[in-house]
Each structure stands twice: as structure tokens, then as C-alpha cells.
């Protein structure tokens, strides 16, 4: 597995998409900082914005960096199928589980590092503009862990889609389509439902048990300031994300063993 990872990372660091990811990361961080600065200057929406909302927003797969990173990662993963280079791994003698797991480790490592850097930079710049008043370190760690775990779930799903469809357009279409579908459904529910305490409590559990929803919270959470996750709910959210990710990995391993490589 170490050898496959070495090859995958060598290819990634020598590729154009790695440089493009860094450029995107810098550009979107700078852009967010400039927008925040002007919002502060004009005193618009500032009652609503704090550095933590920017930390959360950074993980969204349907906004700025997130959506482009998703496309880049799918292009990288599918290229192994498009160029048939995944065959080299099988022919050499690696078993399919090792190939799937090493690809997953590569995907999750690069993704988590990229999003951590992006979110923390956004948090830092937003904090410098709006101030860190009232933000506790434990809350930051809690939020980060919840979002990283939801991101892990999301990219486990991305890899599964890539291995099943082996198509760039197919995987991008499914993942972006799914993300926007969730936003549309949740937004409809929010606008049609009576937002009393029971509704919000129910929504909390829906978000806990469907980790991909967490990544859409920048939209959902913005509408509902009461929809916060702390203490037990945060721990449960992290736990559920990891368990559901584990289930996805097992599904991926099972299907990958059954599929033919042409």
C-alpha cells in the first residue's frame, strides 16, 4: 500500500492540478477576505457573519473552492481509469482491496489537508476583519471535527462513484446533482415547515444521520441560527459520519472486488 501511495503522491505533486489547487486556494481566500472587508466597511450582514460561519462555509462542496476542488479530485481519480494506469497496479499483483484503500487514503489525505488549510485561512482572515470576540477554541475544534468528518463521508462517496462510473462527467454530474438536490429539498422543507423547536430538533437529527447535509449548513444554518451542534450532538454527529463513511468504504471494497477492469 505504501508503494501505491508513493506513486499516487508523486504523480499528484508533479501534476498541474496540484498547482491549480494551490492557486485556487490562495485566490478564493483572498477574494473572501476582500468581500468580508467591504461587508464590514458597509456594515452589511455583519450581525449574521462571524469567523465561524466562514470556517463552516469553506467546507461546502457547492461553493467556490469546494466545487472546483471536487471537479479536480474527480479528474485525478478518473484519470487512472481513462489512461488504464490502474491496470498496472492490478497486473503487478496488488489486490483490489489494497488498490481501493490506498486510493481512498490518497483522496482523503489531500482533501482534508486542502480544506483544513482553506478553512483555517478563511477563519483567520474573517477573524481579523470581524474580530474573534465570543468564539471559544473548543467550539472551533468541535466545528472543525464535525466538518472534517462530514467531508470524509462526502469524499468516500466521491470515490465510490468514481470506481462505479469510471467517468469524469458521470461522477461530477452525480455528486454536484446530489449536492444541489439536497439543498433544494432542505430549503423547501425549511421554507414550508413551521420552524418551532420540534422542527429544529428533528432537523438536527436529520443532519446528524445524513452527514452530507452538514456540508450544506452554510446555506441551511444561515437561515436557522438555532441549528447549532454542541456537546453530545457534536460527538454524535462525528461518530455517525465516521460510521457511515466506514459503511461506504465496505460497499466500495465489496463492489470493487466484483467489477471487471477493461
Amino acid at each position: 500500500m505504501r508503494n501505491i501511495l508513493k506513486a499516487d503522491f508523486r504523480k499528484y505533486f508533479n501534476g498541474k492540478l496540484f498547482i491549480a489547487t494551490i492557486i485556487l486556494l490562495v485566490v478564493f481566500t483572498a477574494l473572501n477576505a476582500v468581500i468580508n472587508y467591504f461587508l464590514k466597511l458597509n456594515n452589511e450582514y455583519t450581525y449574521f457573519i462571524n469567523p465561524l460561519t466562514f470556517l463552516e462555509k469553506s467546507f461546502s462542496p457547492t461553493q467556490d473552492f469546494g466545487i472546483l476542488y471536487l471537479i479536480f479530485m474527480i479528474v485525478i481519480l478518473v484519470s487512472d481509469f481513462n489512461h488504464n494506469t490502474i491496470r498496472n497496479k492490478i497486473i503487478i499483483g496488488y489486490d483490489r482491496n489494497t488498490i481501493y484503500l490506498s486510493t481512498l487514503i490518497f483522496t482523503l489525505t489531500t482533501t482534508v489537508i486542502s480544506f483544513l488549510v482553506y478553512s483555517l485561512l478563511n477563519f483567520l482572515f474573517a477573524g481579523l476583519i470581524f474580530g474573534f470576540k465570543g468564539i471559544k477554541a473548543i467550539k472551533v475544534v468541535e466545528t472543525l471535527l464535525m466538518y472534517v468528518c462530514a467531508l470524509i463521508f462526502y469524499y468516500c462517496l466521491v470515490q465510490l462513484m468514481v470506481f462505479l462510473t469510471r467517468s469524469t462527467i458521470g461522477s461530477i454530474g452525480i455528486m454536484i446533482g446530489l449536492s444541489f438536490l439536497i439543498i433544494i429539498i432542505i430549503s423547501s422543507v425549511f421554507t414550508s415547515a413551521k420552524l418551532n423547536d420540534t422542527t429544529i430538533k428533528s432537523l438536527k437529527y436529520v443532519i446528524i444521520f445524513i452527514p452530507v447535509l452538514r456540508l450544506m449548513i452554510p446555506t441551511i444554518g444561515g437561515l436557522l441560527p438555532g441549528l447549532e451542534f454542541t456537546g453530545f450532538n457534536a460527538v454524535l454527529s462525528i461518530f455517525v459520519s465516521l460510521v457511515v463513511s466506514g459503511i461506504l468504504v465496505f460497499v466500495g471494497l465489496y463492489l470493487n472486488k466484483k467489477l471487471d477492469y477493461n
Binding site: R2, N3, I4, K6, A7, R10, K11, N14, G15, K16, S79, H83, N84, T85, R87, N88, K89, I90, I91, I92, G93, Y94, K257, K258, L259, D260, Y261, N262
Partner: protein, 247 residues
């Protein structure tokens, strides 16, 4: 019986592959011995590529088994199936380095130089030209260099002559013979170009409609005083060939 011939490098037992309701391969039993250049011959859709993919591990058989126990361990098998599996945005040397990474070979620069020399691509050692700008012949040779870097005992080639010009075909042929004779590498080669296969193969397997019709040594074919084309048509065409010998 399994293990009855220790000289074999690959043996298949009743190998069958179904795609939905279509049987692509039907109870195929082949034996490839060490040192063979095994020519796999058959019409389009006969099941050659399916058989090659099954032996390479790319496909899962519906039933039957493949015995590779005499092959050795990790990295003993190399295969070029259909098109060369290369990273088009990388140079030749980078492609070979990635293959070394996969194989766990450290300090592979000398080895890279050696395999590039074997396939006649030594000019690419200090050249950063990307693989996507290579000709098909160069890609084929680079793919063989990648296959050689692990010092394999067995190389599988699916239609390696496809798309090559006459000079490229001749160079490939000479390379296969050189690797077989001087590096003791066993080959399984599928090809439509029977006259080219005739110049390298030591054993043939004739396959049609998913069934292995005959396994025969090249010597036996030569003793029959028939050309490989005549023999092939005799086996594959059977009655039709006997009725229309000029067709």
C-alpha cells in the same frame, strides 16, 4: 491434474466468462510453458482479449481457475492489454519512476536507463518530452520498458503490432525474440497478423467463439507443410475452408 507439469508458467482450468447472457469464454484450458512464445490466434470476438484480461487479473472469471503458482510472486507478470497504460502528461522517465514506485524499487535510475536501452529509447533518458506527444510505436516500446522494469518472468501482449508501421513491427518482433532468448521471458501474444506471429511463436492456441479449439507447437505446424494461415483457416474455418479453399 494440477502440478503435473512443473514447467508450465500458466495453466487455466475450465475457465469460463459470461457477460450477462453471452458466454465469451467457455471452459478454456490452456498451458503456457516456461520459455514459450505463445501465440493466441482467433477471429474478432473469439475471446482472446477476455482470456488475456482474465489471466492478467483484470477480470474475474465466472467459473474455473487460473494457476500462476509457478510464476513467482509480486511483479513477475507484466501485461500490455489493448493500449499502452501510460500517464500521458508525464515524461518517459517519470512514467518509469511511477512504475518503480509501484514495485517498491528504490534508486531505479540505472534500471530505467537499462530498460530504455533495451527497447531502443535511450534518447529519452534526459528528455522531458511528454508521452502524449509520442508516436504509437514509441508508446508501445515505452510500455514494454515499463513491463521490463520489474524483471518479469512472463509478459502478456494483446495485439502489440496494431497500428505499427512495418519497421515498428520488425523492431517489436526482434525485441520479443531477444527478450525471450536472452532474458528468459515467456510471452503470451495475441495477434491478427499471423505472418508476424509465425516468425516468433513457439506454440499456438487457436480460439474461436470462446472455445479453445487446439493447442499446438510451431514445430508441428511446420512439419505439416502448411503455412500458418492455411493451418489457421483449417482449424477455424473447418468445413468452410475445405469447401472454398481459395476464399
Amino acid at each position: 491434474m494440477r502440478g503435473d507439469n512443473v514447467d508450465y508458467i500458466v495453466k487455466t482450468y475450465n475457465l469460463t466468462k459470461d457477460f450477462n447472457n453471452f458466454r465469451a469464454l467457455d471452459n478454456v484450458n490452456i498451458t503456457i510453458n516456461k520459455g514459450d512464445i505463445y501465440g493466441l490466434v482467433g477471429e474478432n470476438g473469439a475471446g482472446k482479449s477476455t482470456l488475456i484480461r482474465l489471466i492478467s487479473g483484470l477480470m474475474i472469471p465466472t467459473s474455473g481457475t487460473i494457476d500462476l503458482q509457478n510464476l513467482g510472486g509480486f511483479g513477475s507478470l507484466s501485461a500490455i492489454v489493448e493500449s499502452p497504460a501510460l500517464h500521458p502528461s508525464c515524461s518517459a522517465v517519470m512514467n518509469l519512476k511511477l512504475q518503480c514506485d509501484l514495485l517498491g524499487i528504490k534508486n531505479c535510475n540505472d534500471r530505467i536507463e537499462k530498460v530504455l536501452e533495451i527497447v531502443g529509447l535511450q534518447d529519452l533518458i534526459n528528455n522531458n518530452k511528454k508521452v502524449k506527444h509520442f508516436s504509437l510505436g514509441m508508446k508501445q516500446r515505452l510500455a514494454i520498458a515499463m513491463a521490463l522494469i520489474s524483471n518479469p518472468k512472463f509478459i502478456i501482449l494483446d495485439e502489440p503490432m496494431n497500428g505499427l508501421d512495418p519497421l515498428g513491427i520488425m523492431q517489436m518482433r526482434e525485441l520479443f525474440i531477444e527478450l525471450n532468448q536472452n532474458h528468459n521471458i515467456t510471452f503470451l501474444i495475441s495477434s491478427h497478423i499471423l505472418s508476424e506471429l509465425d516468425k516468433v511463436a513457439t506454440k499456438y492456441g487457436f480460439i474461436s467463439r470462446g472455445k479453445l479449439l487446439l493447442e499446438i507447437s510451431a514445430d508441428e505446424i511446420h512439419k505439416s507443410n502448411k503455412t500458418i494461415e492455411e493451418f489457421y483457416l483449417g482449424v477455424i474455418g473447418g468445413i468452410q475452408y475445405a469447401q472454398h479453399p481459395k476464399s
